[in-house]
Symmetry: C2
């Protein structure tokens, strides 16, 4: 295997672009229903990973409408717990790329933890962040990029085709750099991405652990939040999902004060009490 040297050109390493389709917006409350990845090295595609996955509960129509993967299609699909080791073996020694990587990293990280695996130390890039920094397109949605950069498209919102599109976006963006070392691409991307920052169970803060517990048990908790009208007072919330974000993790929750679904930044939660 290869050591990752940040001073090297990215093209010295195999690249794996990957994508997930999910049963809902948040890890923990929802699951991966399709995982696709393409591995490239020195000008050639050298591997493919593609599987539908059966979630533990049926998908809602709203989510089916996004990717078109139905409950019938996944009825006989393998379980994620049986695919995570093959997937981790597939990505080993490769630079990883995903479009809106924090979303996909969040969903896969939880499976790595559930399987008892140690987080790999791959170098990670987000083709959306790198596209924003280097490409001048109308916007940086994957389908816009496919169209405006004349890339080979496929079925939008299906994991393998989106992974392949993401790989091509990365190539187009990296072309803009004179010296495309890993270090240079990291500087362009500006935000750090690492599996270990997505831990929900082992390395998390006490705040995150309490929220994870509340989500799993569908419990209401009391928080003191730095901000809003109820600043520094106890506020009941029912957490629905945690979103890991290089700009600051947040929890989506029903706020008990006005029954609205809101975003609460973890760093602004000053205190937390179980009800």
């Amino acid at each position: 295997m290869s050591l990752f040297n940040e001073l090297s050109l990215w093209s010295e390493y195999p690249i794996v672009a990957f994508d997930t389709e999910t049963s809902g917006p948040y890890p923990l409350e929802s699951e991966i229903v399709e995982l696709g990845a393409v591995k490239w090295h020195q000008g050639k595609i050298i591997g493919q990973f593609q599987t539908l996955l059966k979630p533990s509960k049926p998908m809602l129509q709203d989510n089916i409408n996004i990717h078109g993967i139905t409950n019938e299609m996944v009825a006989d699909a393998p379980l994620m717990k049986d695919q995570i080791v093959p997937f981790c073996e597939f990505i080993q020694d490769s630079i990883l790329i995903a479009h809106h990587a924090p979303f996909d990293l969040g969903f896969v990280a939880i499976e790595i933890e559930k399987a008892g695996l140690v987080f790999p130390n791959n170098v990670h890039f987000c083709s959306s962040l790198i596209s924003r920094a280097l490409l001048h397109t109308t916007n940086h949605k994957l389908q816009t990029l496919v169209k405006e950069l004349n890339l080979v498209g496929g079925d939008a919102h299906r994991a393998y085709d989106d992974a392949y599109a993401c790989l091509q976006v990365f190539f187009k963006a990296a072309e803009k750099l004179d010296v495309a070392s890993i270090e240079k691409l990291k500087a362009v991307q500006a935000k750090k991405l690492a599996w270990s920052d997505y831990s929900l169970f082992n390395k998390s803060s006490e705040t995150i652990k309490s929220i994870v517990d509340a989500i799993q048990k569908n419990k209401t908790i009391q928080i003191v939040y730095e901000g809003g009208q109820s600043k520094n007072k106890l506020r009941p919330i029912t957490p629905k999902g945690i979103v890991r974000n290089p700009d600051g993790d947040y929890v989506h929750a029903e706020c008990g004060l006005d029954n609205q679904r809101k975003r609460f930044y973890i760093s602004k939660i000053l205190d937390i009490e179980l009800v």
Copy 2:
């Protein structure tokens, strides 16, 4: 290569025990002058790594007295910067063990960073911590353990022999467990060890970065420290070295108030100003 699965027995993986001899007590101000490692798998020694290393400035007699490695002995030795890649290749895919691991991890981590390498994700154990938890010896110094456990000793304070002794201590301690999974050993050890927690340059806090800068330039800085008689007042200190510690990182520094060498915990440094 192997994925690290915490639910597996440690004996399913290659084990590398390693040890460093150094030119002084702190990374940054001092350097590794000998690096030794032994690799074991399934009952057999399958690899050895052993090299003297030439530091960038001569060693002082106090440090030579500890390990007996003289300036003459390292005069024609290779440089650490040329040995770090071979060493990282040697340890890959292995569980790592060192006696008082935070000391050795601190010295090697800085070389990994200086070489531009991404920190590996090995599972780490400290044979001293594990010995404390499981063995009933007079104390847990490596030489005491060698004697009281009837291990194969060698030249104390020489890197390869100490690494080999450390490996045997680990075996003796692990024997005490019914199920010696990685997860179980981590629970016994209680303290977390990971390369990425030893970063001095890339992932560190602003406080650590300011201290690193002060050490490298031999500068005095003003800190506000939570504790001592000058609590919450500006105090001049001249940092000499950073010690990474699972119980809390600290800086050894000359305190300008009384010219004593003292230990200041990083988490208790409330503010820092360059002079």
